[in-house]
């Protein structure tokens, strides 16, 4: 066993802050960044709006070193972020944005734009809104309306109707990314490097908590085999809710957010290979050009803040019945590779998902990666999500569809996967069997819709009634049918 440390280090207000959890009784490893900031001097601008990452009032920005060696500025929900997750990163709060020159306050361009455009009314959502806009300003200068909306949809405002905020963002983002942070970036990177020199695992221990941060997969697997009961978190966007919403104690955690081994995206002639540690946002960015069907659903997955926190591995491990991710992976015939101290194994995702939030993951295993094979025979593949609200909403039903059509428009193979229709994300085996070998025609699809109406026995809950879900399953098939026809027609036109 390697030596471990009992403290984390991150950058705040231009300096490295070293937190020793054994010495400071006011904090524990699962103290959220929100509660921490509100407990210290000079950082009360951050606000709690919901405690579940749905409103964005608690948004802060975390700057970390990107793959190109530059600083990337990520807007995150501080209500879901445990303090140790800041290790080796720069925490930027609302108090850091304006500069004070004597008596004069020099506002950051995004702040100035909000003031000029009357973009604040009550002011409670404003600090979070400013920081989301700041992250956009730094990362996507000259962002257009669509990207602005995507970046700000995780920040709820009840006063303005957003019109003034949208105007402010357009004005501010036309100026980015230069600002007073630009000049200090080298110094920040140096501080980050100095923190990262030490790659000994971190073990934060208090009377009630053990919080382990490995830096290599090897350290992780060793620790996990010795602590099979420990929960693994990466972004903690799901697990943190147990604390913030259900007031559970999370005494034993392994934080794999520092594990760069798990953050890879590769592609070859046979398929795609996605490391379990990549964020949903990274996967979304990649899939925009390389896998539109995946992109379509990831684009309406959580908020900007949540997509930066949540990881592919975390999403699969929770095995949610309304997962946005699993249906498309089921349809794409994805496999999942697991690793433990005893070696690796790969199984089909379908075998991995065992039931309602249940997987085949053994206590000493972790998810290494997901593999999606390339299948040239597929004519078309797509995903559809139905939710009450377009952005930042959990699916009522989501569907993924792929079809292989022969030259005479016969269905050689069709795969249909749903979230929200059963206790687990599931393929529509009966309807698939019915369609297989039939003609790709409207009347056949309408028959299949009726079949889908009865194939599942979904539940009624706060998001949708069972009846609606049953209707939607079929309706989504019809949407796919129309899309395939549109696609094949335009393809034919091109040829």
């Amino acid at each position: 066993m390697k030596t471990t440390r009992n403290c984390v280090e991150f950058i705040l207000d231009g300096k490295i802050l070293r937190l020793n959890f054994a010495e400071e009784s006011a904090i524990k490893p699962t103290t959220t960044v929100l509660n921490y900031l509100r407990s210290i001097h000079g950082h009360k601008g951050v606000k709690e709006g919901c405690g579940e990452g749905d409103c964005g009032a608690c948004t802060i920005v975390v700057a970390e070193e990107g793959i190109r060696g530059n600083l990337e500025y990520k807007a995150l929900n501080s209500c879901l972020l445990f303090l140790p997750m800041l290790h080796g990163k720069q925490l930027i709060t609302i108090e850091n944005l304006a500069q004070k020159k004597g008596q004069e306050i020099l506002l950051h361009p995004v702040q100035q734009a909000i003031v000029d455009e009357y973009g604040s009314q009550c002011g409670y959502c404003t600090p979070g809104m400013v920081l989301s806009m700041f992250s956009l300003y730094k990362n996507s200068p000259h962002a257009q309306e669509d990207s602005i909306k995507l970046a700000l949809s995780g920040n709820l405002c009840r006063c303005t109707g957003y019109k003034s905020i949208l105007n402010a963002a357009k004005i501010a983002c036309s100026k980015g990314p230069e600002d007073h942070f630009t000049n200090g970036e080298d110094a920040v990177l140096e501080l980050i490097h100095s923190i990262h020199k030490n790659t000994d695992p971190i073990l934060l221990q208090t009377d009630d908590y053990q919080y382990y941060i490995p830096f290599t997969t090897e350290d992780l697997l060793h620790y996990k085999s010795g602590h099979p009961e420990a929960l693994i978190i990466a972004g903690a966007s799901d697990i943190a809710l147990r604390q913030t919403k259900k007031n559970e104690l999370l005494p034993n955690l392994i934080d794999i957010s520092q594990l760069n081994d798990l953050k890879f995206i590769q592609e070859d002639h046979a398929g795609f290979y996605f490391g379990a540690g990549i964020s949903i946002e990274e996967l979304r960015d990649f899939s925009e050009d390389r896998y539109p069907a995946l992109f379509n659903v990831l684009n309406v997955f959580g908020s900007h803040q949540i997509r930066h926190l949540a990881t592919l591995g975390g999403n699969l491990a929770t095995a949610s019945p309304i997962s946005d991710m699993i249906p498309i992976l089921l349809v794409a015939d994805a496999s999942i590779r697991l690793i433990s101290i005893h070696g690796q194994r790969e199984l089909k995702l379908e075998e991995f998902i065992k039931g309602y939030r249940q997987t085949d993951l053994k206590a000493d295993e972790i998810i290494l990666m997901v593999r999606i094979p390339k299948n040239e025979r597929i004519t078309f593949i797509n995903t559809y999500k139905v939710s009450r609200r377009k952005d930042v909403d959990i699916s009522c039903v989501n569907g993924a569809f792929s079809v292989e059509l022969s030259r005479n428009n016969r269905i050689d193979d069709i795969r249909i996967g749903f979230g929200g229709m059963a206790a687990q994300a599931k393929r529509a085996a009966i309807t698939e069997a019915f369609l297989s070998g039939k003609q790709w025609e409207r009347n056949v699809i309408e028959e299949a819709m009726q079949l889908l109406y009865t194939e599942f026995q979904p539940i009624s809950d706060a998001r949708a009634k069972a009846e609606s879900r049953s209707i939607l399953a079929g309706n989504l098939l019809m949407k796919f049918f129309l899309d395939v026809n549109y696609y094949t027609k335009t393809q034919a036109d091109v040829i």
Partner: protein, 770 residues
């Protein structure tokens, strides 16, 4: 220009400096207060065991109703709301016990150790059941005009239908919060997030059993309110005060989001039925409407809300023969309360749907039917409650908006789009708003102010209004800046404080700047008289040959000038100093009460409103019939705001009100299960609009050359009316759905038009029974 002042707190907002109640830390040892609430919709409390919780380290105190030194009562109008439940609970979320602990974690731990044993009693958790079991809260209200029966007899056609409008959660970003600080003796200071500090003061005094002169309530700003903090902010304040009294320490209560949603009241859901008679041309002759409102377990403001709903059943339409009846029903749910529009939206929705149904029946465009029935200028201008509709701009709004929104050519484009698309359907609608301004409880239409001028020439304004983001303080600064001729930078609005301006009305009913602006103006008028007299004397003493009359002194460009002797000029700052040296009082109170309004609820007649606000919107939607997805393609709003006190702030109110209404009409669903549990109790399932939901093309304009001679600087109230412009989206959706297959949309149409309603109603394949 005083009309171009930016939000007075904007820089504090964007830098995070703006402090809300939860940010205040007057002392190190502020205790955390937690409310333990009922888990039953209706039950007798058999036993409460707090022993284990009491023993937990860090728990300072646990109190129940027996620890209340004063009255166990916090009903604002009718005293039917206990501060803490005694032997019975009447809804899930009702406060039973209060815990004071050293921090949130400890308080939550303690709450888990408390055991309350209930004996369940029969409960009513649906409005239908309340109606069918005749569980009425108070006698029905009625407004009538003309002769309904002969109106129907004269009508060529008649339509009947039902409109259900859903509840709505306020979803202010800042949940209910209060900080209570015990002072000397029995005195106590409350930092509240309340729209109605005077009532908060009264209720805290009542619960503590002390006189009101011992309670100071201060409101710096609220993180949104929308009516949700008009009465129900009193609750957290009373609870925090009770814990502070009991522990002798400062106590803060900041409700967690889920608790706030579960415990507090919402917009009243209504089930409304209507019957409307009209001529072959679509002119309405008779309208009968019955409103059934879900009041929740107690009265709160429900009577006034039902009144306003009844006042707005006509919306913008002249109807000669009419009967509007309203019922308040009691359910075992949180007491529903004020919410932007205050019943107006529920009343208007019914007539808007009726107008649309008439158009469909007659095969005409709904815009024509609406236009035909608008109130006119000189005849057909008396409402069902007998008030004259003056300064009516409906026709101008309609004509200008129809052109600027390109209504007619878009109508043709939509027809073509719909004929080419099987599953995507577009719809278009124009809807008007006529909204009455004033508290309908007439005596509430009063306001007071206290204006202090200091020797350095700076001005501190105190008034009874509260700032919840609506820009009231900014407008008040603009009014003072105009009146004193002094730049805004020298003028500040103090936080609202009951010890400075007493006996205030709630900042509500869109009346904040109308009432408080006038009161501030009154105080400034007094001060100007005094200063002018002092300066006239000053000048005249130095040069007795030329006599300056005080009334000839004007205030502009930070100076005082005698208009007859322009060389007699002095800076405001110097003038103030001289006035002080000449022993002049530089502090004055102001007062205003709205003239000429009265209403007799027994007769259902009177002039409850000082004036009306008129506005209109055109919206175009596209509905994906397969998923129920709704895209709001474009909204054009044309608003008659008089001469706006601050056009950008008013545009912000219009956009904000419209989008809030959009949420009510589309994605915001509130449901309780049969046992009274709220299903959507967090933003996880309760969906207010995001930035992606606003119209792709969103145009807001003011009608030019309008004025309102009755008010401060000829302005008009702005807060509530824009909310109801969102009915244009609802009606455009109905228009789109009418184009779906051969489905008859019918005369019943509900709010919200959630996606489930669309796919259930318009599903195009035949469902085989399961």
């Amino acid at each position: 220009m005083s009309s171009e002042i930016r939000h007075e707190s904007a820089i504090k907002h964007v830098t995070g400096e703006a402090r809300f109640v939860n940010d205040l830390e007057p002392r190190k040892d502020v205790l955390y207060g937690l409310v333990v609430y009922s888990s039953e919709a209706h039950a007798r409390i058999k036993d409460i065991n707090i022993n284990a919780a009491n023993e937990l380290a860090g728990v300072i105190s646990i109190v129940d109703y027996k620890n209340i030194p004063g009255q166990n009562q916090m009903g604002p109008v009718i005293h039917d709301e206990p501060c803490l439940a005694e032997d019975r609970v009447e809804f899930i979320g009702q406060a039973v016990l209060l815990i004071a602990a050293i921090d949130r974690e400890t308080a939550i731990k303690a709450s888990k150790l408390i055991h309350i044993e209930y004996e369940p009693l029969p409960s009513i958790t649906s409005l239908e059941e309340a109606i069918s079991s005749d569980n009425m809260l108070c006698p029905p209200r009625k407004i009538e005009t003309g002769d309904l029966e002969s109106g129907f007899a004269e009508s060529a056609h008649c339509i009947e239908g039902e409109v259900r409008t859903g509840a709505q959660e306020h979803w202010y970003l800042e949940t209910q919060t209060a900080l209570a600080i015990p002072e000397e003796g029995d005195e106590i200071t409350i930092h509240a997030s309340s729209q109605h500090p005077s009532e908060t003061q009264a209720i805290v005094a009542g619960v503590l059993g002390i006189n009101r002169n011992l309670v100071v309530v201060e409101v710096q700003r609220m993180g949104g309110a929308f009516g949700g903090k008009e009465t129900q902010a009193n609750h957290v304040a009373a609870w925090a005060a009770l814990l502070a009294r009991h522990t002798g320490k400062a106590v803060k209560i900041h409700l967690f989001r889920d608790d706030d949603q579960i415990m507090t009241g919402k917009r009243h859901r209504f089930i409304s039925r209507y019957k409307i008679g009209f001529t072959c041309e679509g002119k309405v002759l008779a309208y009968e409407v019955e409103l059934n409102a879900d009041a929740g377990y107690s009265t709160d403001l429900s009577r006034a809300i039902l009144d306003r709903a009844l006042f707005h059943t006509d919306n913008a339409y002249y109807i000669p023969n009419m009967r509007a009846v309203g019922y308040l029903w009691k359910t075992n749910l949180p007491s529903n309360t004020a919410f932007r529009g205050f019943g107006g939206p529920q009343g208007m929705a019914v007539i808007e749907n009726a107008m649309d149904s008439i158009a469909r029946f007659l095969g005409k465009d709904a815009s024509e039917i609406r236009y035909k029935n608008f109130y006119k200028q000189h005849s057909e201008n008396i409402t069902h409650f007998g008030q004259n509709v003056e300064n009516n701009s409906l026709e101008i709004l309609y004509n200008e908006l129809l052109i600027s929104s390109d209504y007619n050519s878009r109508r043709s484009a939509i027809k073509e789009f719909n004929s080419k698309n099987e599953f995507a359907k577009r719809g278009l609608a124009i809807t008007p708003v006529k909204f009455g301004i004033s508290f309908t409880t007439s005596f509430l239409n009063q306001a007071a102010a206290l204006v202090n001028i200091y020797q350095d020439g700076t001005v501190l304004l105190n008034h009874g209004g509260t700032e919840m983001g609506q820009g009231l303080h900014t407008k008040i600064i603009g009014i003072a800046s105009n009146a004193l001729g002094v730049d805004a930078e020298f003028i500040k609005v103090s936080s609202t404080n009951t010890s400075k301006v007493p006996n205030t009305s709630a900042t509500a009913a869109s009346s904040g700047s109308d009432l408080n602006g006038m009161a501030v103006n009154d105080a400034i008028g007094k001060l100007k008289k005094r200063i002018s007299t002092a300066i006239a004397n000053h000048w005249n003493a130095a040069d007795p040959q030329n006599i300056t009359k005080p009334e000839n002194i004007v205030y502009q460009n930070n100076n005082l000038t005698d208009i007859l002797y322009p060389k007699r000029i002095i800076s405001f700052k110097d003038a103030v100093k001289i006035a002080y040296l000449r022993q002049t009082s530089l502090s004055a109170t102001g007062f205003y009460s709205t003239p000429g309004i009265q209403y007799d609820p027994q007769k259902g007649k009177g002039t409850p409103f000082y004036y009306f606000v008129f506005s209109m919107a055109v919206s175009e939607v596209e509905i994906d019939v397969l998923t129920g997805g709704l895209k709001l393609l474009r909204t054009d709003i044309l608003h008659d705001g008089g001469i706006s006190l601050n056009p950008e702030i008013d545009k912000g109110q219009i956009a904000g009100g419209f989008v809030m209404g959009l949420g009510w009409c589309t994605t915001e669903v509130v449901e309780w299960d049969n046992s009274g549990h709220l299903l959507q109790h967090s933003p996880d399932t309760y969906k207010i609009p995001t930035i992606s939901d606003i119209p792709f093309d969103f145009r807001i304009n003011f009608l030019s050359n309008r004025t309102n001679p009755k008010t401060i600087s000829n302005s008009k109230a702005i807060g509530e009316p824009p909310f109801m412009l969102s009915l244009s989206v609802w009606m455009a959706s109905k228009d789109a759905l009418t184009c779906c297959r051969d489905t008859f949309v019918g005369n019943n149409f509900d709010i919200p038009l959630a996606f489930e309603l669309i796919i259930n109603k318009f599903t195009f394949f035949n469902r085989q029974p399961k």
